[in-house]
């Protein structure tokens, strides 16, 4: 844990020293939130579930861009710099190295989405009905995004190719997220949920709008069940695939840390 936190702090420091990147990740969401709050759309033009749909799309955008895309590029760059090898030599556990490297992306996602959700609620005057499901959606988005990035990074040979290699995950999260906003909440299909983005959207909408056929936490949990199942399954599958395929050095074959050497390491 100490190693992961130390590494995360170093990664944040690295990010902060890239002034343009630091400006973009901090100031742009703030500007967007301020603009949204100070320029709300006229009340008569707001359809009922707009806030929920907007929140769902925002989560999909932040997850795919701020977390997945950024994390894939960071992992590939650190591998090209041989830093992942360096951290492995330190004796730090593989999971701690990945957690430390990816934590800044997770914080950006959580921080950015919290600001935007708040701005959306204020601007549209539509507070979420059950915020618990929003928080759970963000937590599951970070888990899904992190494992997806780890899995994808194994297939990206260079930083330049990282964004292209991440395109399928990017499309599934963003496209699936938007797709699931186009139907009434009760009509989200398994196919939509299967993209990952659709399942996150359903959770956000349940949190913001509340379940359609009943009220209360139990009804919401029942409605969220299929999406929870899909998200946990996808996260688990990508996590296993990531451990099998991850490459720690540029010249390594895809073998992850599940190969004989590390499975039994003590």
């Amino acid at each position: 844990m100490t190693s992961a936190i130390a590494l995360a702090r170093a990664e944040l420091r690295i990010l902060a020293r890239d002034r343009v990147a630091a400006f973009n990740v901090v100031v742009v969401p703030l500007f967007a939130a301020i603009y949204l709050v100070t320029n709300p759309p006229p009340a008569e033009e707001i359809p009922g579930p707009l806030a929920a749909a907007g929140a769902a799309v925002l989560l999909a955008v932040f997850t795919s861009v701020a977390l997945v895309l950024k994390s894939v590029m960071v992992l590939v760059q650190r591998r090209e710099q041989h830093l992942l090898e360096r951290w492995r030599i330190s004796g730090t556990a593989p999971a701690a190295i990945l957690a430390g490297t990816l934590l800044p992306g997770v914080l950006l996602l959580a921080g950015g989405i919290a600001v935007m959700f708040a701005a959306l609620a204020i601007a549209l005057d539509q507070a979420p009905v059950q915020p618990f499901w929003l928080v759970l959606a963000v937590v599951l988005a970070t888990a899904l995004g992190g494992t997806a990035a780890t899995f994808t990074a194994a297939y990206a040979r260079t930083t330049e190719s990282a964004s292209v290699v991440a395109l399928p995950i990017f499309a599934a999260l963003l496209g699936g997220g938007i797709w699931a906003t186009l139907v009434p909440l009760g009509e989200v299909t398994w196919r939509m949920r299967g993209t990952g983005g659709g399942a996150l959207t359903e959770l956000v909408r349940i949190g913001w709008e509340g379940p359609t056929d009943a009220t209360g936490f139990v009804a919401a949990a029942s409605a969220a069940g299929p999406s929870l199942l899909v998200l946990l399954t996808l996260t688990g599958a990508l996590g296993v695939a990531g451990t099998c395929t991850f490459r720690w050095s540029p010249r390594a074959q895809r073998g992850g840390w599940s190969r004989r050497s590390s499975q039994r390491e003590s």
Partner: protein, 342 residues
């Protein structure tokens, strides 16, 4: 490079040069080897990078692993460090199985990677501090950062971004990182690549100091004079196999010395005057002659006597003991001959 470079090897220690004052070292049990490798094999898919090699280094020794590009040196080091699984073989490093006891080994071994692995955006001081927090899960005792920097002459670059350091300075920072917790074993993968002669000499001095304190060093290098100057024991790899291994004197003693000269076209060769098992080769131009001999002094004396007696002028006469460069060249040429092309 000349054979006199071996005179720099001023670190009497290890199996070939014990420094202790014990009355009779032969009565002591032999120490467990720091490195012990038997029949190591390692592949990348269908390509077998390491093909059944044997290695051994005693505590406090410097083992130099030499070889051409792609010979399997770095792969071997990666296996010894536990960063890559072996396909087969018995491997013990400081008595540990690197594959199963990677973290325990990491706490006792320092590593300088072949490529400088440093984050450009951090300063040397920040990076060393980060390393201290990460190495061994933050449980190891490290030297203070400023002391580490002073050790590799980087104090004046303490707070400069690593991205602005020169290649040599980055390499020295790599070395400082590896030495952070005073490891028992140090893996150096081409540690002086890119260093200027002065920095290289400083690195050699530091390595010698480490050897004096009993640190075991495994070194890979393309600079033969580096191995010549530092190594107690060496192994020359080629195409995944060890072609030559042993102490430097043993390796050199197993090779013939050379005598080269030119003759007039019509001169006869002095085969009959040479003693021992000398091999005499005359090139097609019939002028250039090379004598390979296990007994340089006797054969040179005989050759000069023959020259004087017959009035034959030995032009451009050059005699030399075998050098590591010649051994290395022989390994490449002999293994690149028919066996390789088969």
């Amino acid at each position: 490079m000349t054979t006199t470079a071996t005179g720099d090897r001023d670190h009497p220690r290890g199996a070939s040069g014990a420094t202790t004052t014990t009355p009779d070292p032969s009565l002591r049990p032999a120490p467990d080897p720091a490195i012990e490798v038997q029949q190591l094999r390692c592949s990348y898919g269908d390509f077998e990078a390491v093909r059944g090699i044997e290695l051994r280094a005693a505590p406090g020794e410097l083992l130099a692993v030499l070889g051409t590009n792609g010979a399997g040196k770095t792969t071997t080091l990666e296996v010894l460090q536990g960063r890559r699984p072996a396909d087969a073989g018995h491997i013990r490093v400081l008595g540990l199985d690197p594959a199963r006891q990677r973290r325990a080994l990491a706490a006792r071994a320092g590593v300088v990677l072949q490529e400088s692995a440093l984050p450009d955006e951090l300063t040397p001081a920040e990076f060393l501090l980060l390393w201290q927090q990460m190495a061994g899960g933050g449980t190891l005792t490290h030297r203070p950062v400023d002391e580490q920097l002073a050790r590799v002459d980087l104090t004046h670059r303490r707070d400069v971004r690593i991205g602005r350091l020169s290649g040599g300075e980055r390499r020295r920072l790599d070395l400082a990182t590896a030495l952070s917790a005073d490891p028992e074993l140090l893996f150096l993968d081409e540690p002086t690549a890119g260093l200027d002669p002065e920095s290289r000499a400083d690195t050699w001095t530091l390595i010698r100091q480490l050897l004096h304190t009993g640190t075991t060093v495994v070194l890979t290098t393309h600079y033969l004079e580096e191995a010549d100057a530092l190594a107690d024991r060496l192994a020359i790899m080629h195409e995944g196999q060890i072609e030559v291994a042993g102490t430097l004197p043993d390796v050199l003693a197993a090779r013939d010395a050379r005598i080269r000269f030119t003759l007039d076209n019509d001169s006869t060769l002095p085969n009959e005057r040479l003693v021992g098992q000398a091999t005499v080769t005359r090139q097609r131009d019939r002028q250039h002659v090379e004598v390979r001999t296990p007994d340089l002094a006797d054969d040179l004396r005989s050759l000069l006597a023959w020259s004087q007696a017959g009035g034959t002028d030995l032009q451009r006469l050059h005699a030399s003991e075998p050098t590591l460069a010649e051994v290395f060249h022989d390994v490449r040429t002999t293994t690149n001959a028919p066996e390789v092309t088969r």
